[in-house]
């Protein structure tokens, strides 16, 4: 054997998962080369052929006509009378000059030195390719010339792997020289991305689509998909305003583009339910992939639903030709609530309390003897610590998947429990998921379906977390929560309730959801590239809320829940979705054309009922003699509604040589929310891509730098998030509006119509660049977007004299602009493989037009403005300008109307210089929406070990906090000053962080704390070590000996470390929801459930 050159052609079959392999071959060829036959067999079976060109030159042409013949038989026929032999080894067919009877195992044993060279398909050497000897941990990496040298057994198998390329196993078979050309991996070339109503090869994408894989979520102890998505994809902005179990998340794609509903559309398995709750209820372990459609190019096919972006979720299915496989994954750990504030010893607290009074000319409360008594009396455990404890969190998922030649199946079960950190009877969140999916091919028909059921339950205290926290944290530590007789104590400062008593005995609020999701689809393949597909599906969610307030008596006085009320509310929402579409997909030489046209209906209907009893049985909570049905009960269907959207949509793609790509998408929507005549809207988009390095004149760039693709899109998207029936004036009954002679009578309220209500339209431009550099080990994606939303549906500001509110009007315009960067880099070493992924994004909005001058909205000292030229709902307030240091300062500088401050009070900037501080001196102070959101993932593997570090954060955000965490002894509600508040003004601390201590009712309080100002604004930027995983996977050999395919055990931790400017509160805490509505009132007072830190372990086993 002279110099033997083996060229390994590793070609993959298109759409592996979709098509599957077959061992049956159908051929009808006359007088063709063996190479052509091999190609055909490879196409049909997926088997790879290994041969050298020299060898095949000796081969004869063949003629073969077989139908569904076994592979072995076909090969036997081809190789008959050939000077060649073949051998089937796993998925490979090795062609050599010897007789077929000769097999590797007969080679004489012994060691040889192998020199090899690894190149890309164009013959460019690849450096850093990992070359290992299968079954051992021995291996090397190729050098700068793509070469390696290894001493191996003559019969060894070398495993070659390199990111972006398909890994191959090469049999040495006694050869001393190997030249291996690696093929670009199918993952890179043929990676399939789920897009609206179909899939596309990633290389052909022209829109801004980001793909999220299960690896991005694996092993993280997140309780739901939202939590797991945080920081994973650029400009997929997830905020958790309330970290308590079961609470909802803020979810935005590319920030805030409208003053109306900013919720992205969530599509699960093709069903556009329009229900974010479905995503919260989904078992993250069931997710196969997610696509984030960000621009008009990608999203216009969802037309009026897509202005806020689209998240497509595809759930797992079984695989064809797969033995039934059982997998288990689970985590178990404990959550530790980290309290960021701390009180002072009661005697010190009393001294400061006195100071706050004497500073403003009021007598002190505590005599020196009282303070001494507090000092000698010592302190009890702070109430806030007493109502919190460690709580376990665990999840378990089991699935069974498999498939035959024509069908697949999946069964999965999941359970998650997150106990609450509040003490009390079993507070917390539990979710159960069941899912079954099947697909089947029958001739030209492909059918599939999914049925999923979720039940979750959130058990909370009956009072509300915010006020419990407040009551607990603002009580000085000289007070005792429970006395020696076990009585829950109230005291001179706990106004009403004892928080421990409320938690332990005060009843509960039980919120359960039942979600049935189902879909069935069928696709018929027609000749000439046509196919027809129909999808029917729906989602039915039933929410049940049962509130039971139990009576708890306190000592010496006070009762909680004396009305012993029970509330029972049911809401049912049904989403249905029917789609029918025709698809076309065909190639003509270098031209590839595909298209889709479809029609769909989405309908939503719902109703609710509730009943509310007072004075129920004190033990059972059941209605009894003397019980009263409350007036706001409604046993009949409440708020029934139906809304419907009929749509026609289509897509046309054209590409030439996969180099020039054009796509048109459009949707024509008709909505029941608008009146006849103006209810239809047309939403088109166009996008184009150019893979410039495929041009011959760019060959040099491609070889030296890598591949580049430019993308651009422009289109108009819609939003129909308006209430139902708003084009009609309606009159609804107000139960018990009034009474005469103690008999209630009903009133009537009216809701004025807006007959001109129509679509909100978002014109969106997107430009992007995708780069695959350093032999595809470095991927970079850049995007820029600019979205102008007009006809924004919003409740207009109307004069008070109009006397009522109006429904939505198309009365606003805003711009949303930003960019995204995503970088992925993989570094192969001899022992270690490192991978890095960074994403960074910005979004920035500005109101362009708002009807009326402006809208100021306030809640206590929080004030926001909506007006042209500034971001939506910007904070407004006075700007601090130091303190009045002396009484001559007080005389000299402008003051707030009606207030005579004292030295140590805040001096505000007189913006207009008129010598008085009033509304004309308000500044725009910031914006509550996060900017520069980022995520960073680092992963390193060393043999069986892996380490994964995930950091997530926000580069810029202004957060607002008022109340007791900022204002010591706040408004006679709080009796504490916390340690972080001690840097207050005194004559010797003239540049303090906080003003002079003052008492409620004093001009100083009015001046310093009762007006909106930047005293209450904090820097909400942070970086958080969101997840760390350290895992070990058993080597396949050991695993096999235990009769399992794969085992991984790992440590996992969440929220382990946070770097933030604001130290006394979780920087993620926000009072705003996704639409920048102030919906978390307790957060603005810092009364937020402490963010739990999770430590635990996990286990993944595949049998």
């Amino acid at each position: 054997m002279t110099k033997l050159t083996a060229v390994l052609l590793v070609t993959a079959c298109l759409q592996v998962s979709a098509k599957g392999y077959s061992q049956k071959v159908t051929l009808s060829e006359s007088d063709v080369s063996l190479t052509k036959v091999f190609k055909e067999i490879r196409k049909q079976t997926g088997f790879l052929f290994f041969y050298s060109d020299e060898l095949l030159q000796q081969a004869r042409k063949v003629s073969i006509h077989v139908k569904a013949a076994p592979l072995q038989a076909v090969l036997d026929s081809c190789f008959r009378d050939q000077p060649l032999g073949f051998e089937i080894d796993g998925n490979s067919i090795i062609v050599d000059a010897r007789a077929p009877a000769v097999v590797t195992r007969d080679l004489p044993p012994g060691e040889i030195t192998v020199h090899g060279r690894v190149t890309d398909p164009h013959g460019v050497p690849l450096a850093g390719v990992s070359v290992t000897i299968a079954g051992t941990s021995r291996g090397v990496a190729t050098d700068g010339r793509g070469e390696f040298t290894l001493v191996v057994d003559t019969g060894a198998v070398l495993h070659l792997s390199y990111t972006g390329y398909t890994a191959v196993d090469v049999q040495v078979r006694g050869r001393k020289t190997l030249v291996v050309a690696l093929e670009l991996s199918q993952a890179a070339l043929n990676e399939i991305v789920v897009v609206g109503y179909g899939t596309q090869r990633k290389v052909n994408l022209t829109g801004a689509v980001d793909q999220i894989t299960p690896q991005d979520l694996a092993g993280k102890p997140g309780v739901n998909t939202f939590q797991l998505l945080q920081g994973v994809s650029p400009n997929l902005i997830i905020q958790q305003p309330d970290p308590s179990p079961g609470a909802s998340f803020n979810f935005n794609i590319r920030g805030v583009g409208t003053m109306n509903d900013n919720s992205p559309l969530v599509v699960i398995d093709g069903i556009t339910s329009g229900n974010l709750q479905s995503l919260q209820l989904l078992n993250p372990a069931d997710i196969e992939s997610m696509s984030v459609l960000k621009d008009a190019g990608a999203a216009a096919i969802y037309g009026s639903r897509a202005a806020n972006g689209v998240l497509l979720v595809t759930t797992k299915k079984g695989k064809k030709n797969q033995h039934p496989t059982v997998s288990y994954s689970g985590t178990y750990g404990t959550q530790d609530s980290k309290i960021l504030i701390s009180p002072l010893p009661a005697w010190e607290n009393a001294i400061y309390k006195n100071e706050s009074l004497t500073n403003v000319g009021l007598p002190p409360i505590y005599a020196p003897a009282d303070i001494q008594a507090l000092k000698t009396g010592g302190d009890h455990e702070w109430f806030l610590r007493q109502i919190l404890h460690h709580a376990p969190q665990q999840s378990h998922n089991v699935s069974l998947t498999g498939g035959g030649q024509n069908s697949t199946f999946l069964l999965s079960l999941g359970n998650l429990t997150q106990a609450s950190n509040f003490v009390g009877p079993n507070y917390g969140y539990t979710r159960y998921n069941v899912r079954a999916a099947a697909t089947s091919d029958y001739g030209i028909l492909k059918a599939g379906g999914t049925l999923a059921y979720t039940h979750d339950e959130l058990k909370q205290n009956s009072f509300g977390n915010g006020f419990l926290m407040a009551d607990a944290e603002r009580t000085p530590t000289n007070y005792q929560m429970v006395d020696s007789l076990g009585r829950y104590l109230t005291n001179a400062v706990l106004t009403q309730f004892n928080p421990l008593g409320v938690l332990q005995r005060g009843g509960y609020n039980d919120i359960t959801n039942d979600d049935f999701f189902g879909n069935v689809s069928a696709e018929i393949a027609l000749p000439k590239g046509f196919s027809i597909k129909g999808v029917v599906g729906g989602d039915m969610v039933t929410n049940h809320n049962f509130l039971r307030v139990a009576q708890v008596g306190f000592y010496p006085q006070g009762v909680y829940g004396s009305d012993r009320s029970t509330g029972d509310t049911w809401t049912q929402t049904m989403y249905t979705n029917v789609q029918l579409m025709a698809q076309y997909n065909r190639s003509f030489g270098d031209h590839r054309v595909s298209g889709l046209i479809g029609a769909s209906n989405e309908s939503t209907s719902g109703h609710s009922s509730n009943i509310y009893y007072m004075y129920t049985d004190s033990i059972l909570g059941t209605p009894t003699t003397g019980s009263i049905v409350s007036t706001n009960a409604s046993t009949t269907a409440q708020n029934p509604y139906v809304s419907s959207l009929n749509s026609l949509y289509g897509r046309a793609n054209y590409n030439y040589k996969d180099r020039y790509l054009v796509e048109f998408d459009a949707r024509y929507d008709g909505s029941s929310k608008f009146r006849q005549g103006i209810r239809y809207g047309f939403f088109p988009s166009v996008s184009a891509g150019w893979r410039l390095t495929d041009e011959s004149f760019m060959q040099g760039v491609r070889d030296k730098i890598g591949e580049l693709k430019l993308r651009g899109s422009y289109g108009v998207l819609g939003n129909q998030s308006a209430g139902n029936y708003q084009y009609l004036t309606t009159y609804s009954s107000i139960t018990n509006a009034y009474g005469f002679n103690n008999t209630p009578v009903a009133g009537e309220g009216f809701t004025f119509s807006n007959p001109d209500l129509t679509w909100e339209r978002a014109a969106t431009f997107n430009g992007g660049l995708d780069a695959y550099l350093l032999h595809r080990s470095l991927n970079v994606s850049l995007d820029y977007f600019n979205k102008l939303t007009s006809h924004i549906l919003l409740v207009p500001a109307v004069p008070g004299t109009f006397g009522t509110n109006l429904p939505d009007y198309n009365a606003g315009k805003m711009r949303d602009e930003g960019w995204e960067v995503s970088v992925k880099y993989v570094l192969h070493g001899r022992q270690f493989t490192h991978s890095f992924a960074v994403n960074l994004a910005d979004n920035h909005n500005e109101v362009v037009y708002f009807q009326g001058t402006q809208q100021l909205q306030g809640d206590a000292e929080l004030e926001t403005v909506t007006r042209a030229g500034v971001p939506f709902k910007s904070y407004v307030g006075y700007k601090r300008d130091g303190y009045y240091q002396t009484s001559s300062d007080v005389a000299k500088y402008p003051k707030l109307v009606g207030i005579t401050p004292i030295p140590g009070d805040i001096k505000y900037k007189d913006k207009n210089g008129d010598g008085i501080i009033d509304n004309n001196d308000l500044y725009v102070l910031g914006n509550p929406f996060p900017r520069y959101t980022f995520g960073f993932t680092y992963n390193v593997t060393y043999h069986g070990f892996d380490l994964n570090v995930f950091i997530q954060g926000v580069g810029r955000r202004t957060m607002f906090v008022r109340g007791e965490l900022v204002d010591p002894f706040q408004a006679n509600y709080s009796y504490n000053i916390f340690k972080h508040q001690l840097n207050f003004w005194t004559p010797t601390n003239p540049n303090a962080a906080y003003p002079i201590l003052s008492a409620n009712g004093s001009p100083s309080q009015q001046n310093d704390y009762n007006v909106p100002s930047n005293l209450y604004l904090f820097n909400g930027a942070y970086a958080r070590l969101k997840n760390v995983q350290l895992g070990y996977s058993l080597s396949p050999r050991v695993a096999r000996s235990l009769h399992v395919q794969h085992v991984r055990v790992y440590f996992t931790g969440q929220n382990l470390l946070t770097l933030a400017k604001v130290k006394f509160l979780d920087p993620e805490s926000t009072e705003f929801d996704s639409n920048v509505n102030n919906s978390y009132g307790n957060n603005q007072s810092g009364r937020v459930y402490p963010t739990p830190i999770f430590y635990g372990g996990g286990l993944d086993v595949t049998f």
């Binding site: 409360i365 001179a492 009305d563 209906n601 002679n741 004299t801």
Partner: protein
Amino acid sequence: MRSRYYFIVALFAVAGCQKLNQAPTDRYTDFNYWTTPANANALLNTAYSQMFRSDYFFYNEGLSDNAYVGRGDQNNTFTISSGSYNASLGRFDDEWTTHYQCIKSCNVLLDNVEKIPGYPADQKAQLIAQTRFIRAFVYWQLMTWFGDVPLFSHDISLAESQSIARTPRAQVLQFVLNELDTVEAVLPKSWDAADQGRITSGAAEALKARVELYEGNWQDVAKICDTLINTSTYGSWSLVPNYSQIFSPANEHNSEVILDQEYVPNIRTYAWTFDFIPISAGARDNALAPTQDLVNDYLMLNGDSINQAGSGYDITNPYANRDPRMTATLVYDQDVWANANGSTQTIYIKPGSDPNRSALNEYVSNGGFTSPTGYYWRKYFDSTAAPGEVSGLDLILIRYADVLLMYAEAMNELGQMNASVWGQTIGALRARAGFTDPNALSFNAAWSQGDLRTIIRRERRCELAFEGLRIFDIRRWKTASTLLNGWVHGAQYGDPSVDNGFVRVASRIFDPTRDYLWPIPTYELEQNSHLTQNPNY
């Protein structure tokens, strides 16, 4: 082309195209609402409910020298009374909007009621009259706070509301009076039992008296009150024998009630007393406390004021021998409280006085949740209230005693006060209150008009304390600039060297060049450039 069209139609048909014309099933629309008298009545009921607000009823007292808001800032009462506010304060727009919402209800009803087929004429006339009364009442409230306000008597469009200007106060006043004149002719003197609480012709007359009173049109006040007191043209009223019984849940719609806001136990309720009554009586805290100034104004039982020489007032035993209305209205140290279950308790307020160590009601200087002044309220305590002081007790907006006081005031201002009018008014009220000393009951011819003015105004304050009228009285008398400037005091629990030991609770500022009119809310100025601002805002 045609086949493609069919294809699209077919796609829609198969895709289960839904009807896009959807109508609500739980609400009326314009097409079917104005069809029955019952629907018109329902809208009138809404207007009744919008006529007055229970929170304003109580907390307006904290705007005056009768009470102090020491906790929270309900309805911005604390902020306004402190004097440090501007036109963007929430209460102003709240007050403005609340009233125009009620006006909207009235105007929508009045504009559409004629569409209802088969509406019996007399019933319709009465419905219209009640609606117009409510609208007039609300306009009057608006002009009392804000002066000139936009006036319109039909349902205005959005465009109109964005350009409408303020109507001069005098025209609004004339409108209110004309409306009241019109409706009193249609409204009945009384209603059937089931309709107790509806507006009567007497209510229209009494409201007219109050409107004229605030204008200082003494002739008109005297004339209207004379008719109400001395004739039965508009009905007959009499004083309830026991002062505290006026406000008892068992005694709603009593002989003294002329106009009220109706509540229904457990169904249409308020719970404000939860923050006013003594803590040990079931309050959660104190958010509105009587002032020492009010306490000081109650007479001695002998009819002398406490600082009159020889009154017998003992500063060390300050609550003895005082006007019985004081204890019927508020709670002072060691006052006795009747519990809902019939038992009684002593309310210990003086620091360190409570023999029971819980000391729930004791005064704590600027600290605890007890009263910051050392006083609690008793008036409008509902012993039948549901837990949390959820009460269905009606709130009286105009009562007969007020008519008597208006009459006395007008007659005195006209220089016509005499023993007979005195006996019919102040004398009668004091006798009913429990005074027996002739010095308290009888008229003294030696009193000057000024003396009488002091006496009548004090009488008005004590009789009507905690009924929401004080702030309007001191504004129309223009005494607010004196009474609402400086320290608010509480009981004598403080440092004796400061204000004789009467605790300083908070200081107030009232700017007479500005504060006699409330500002037009900033928000409204932004929405309608034709609105002007009141002086000095």
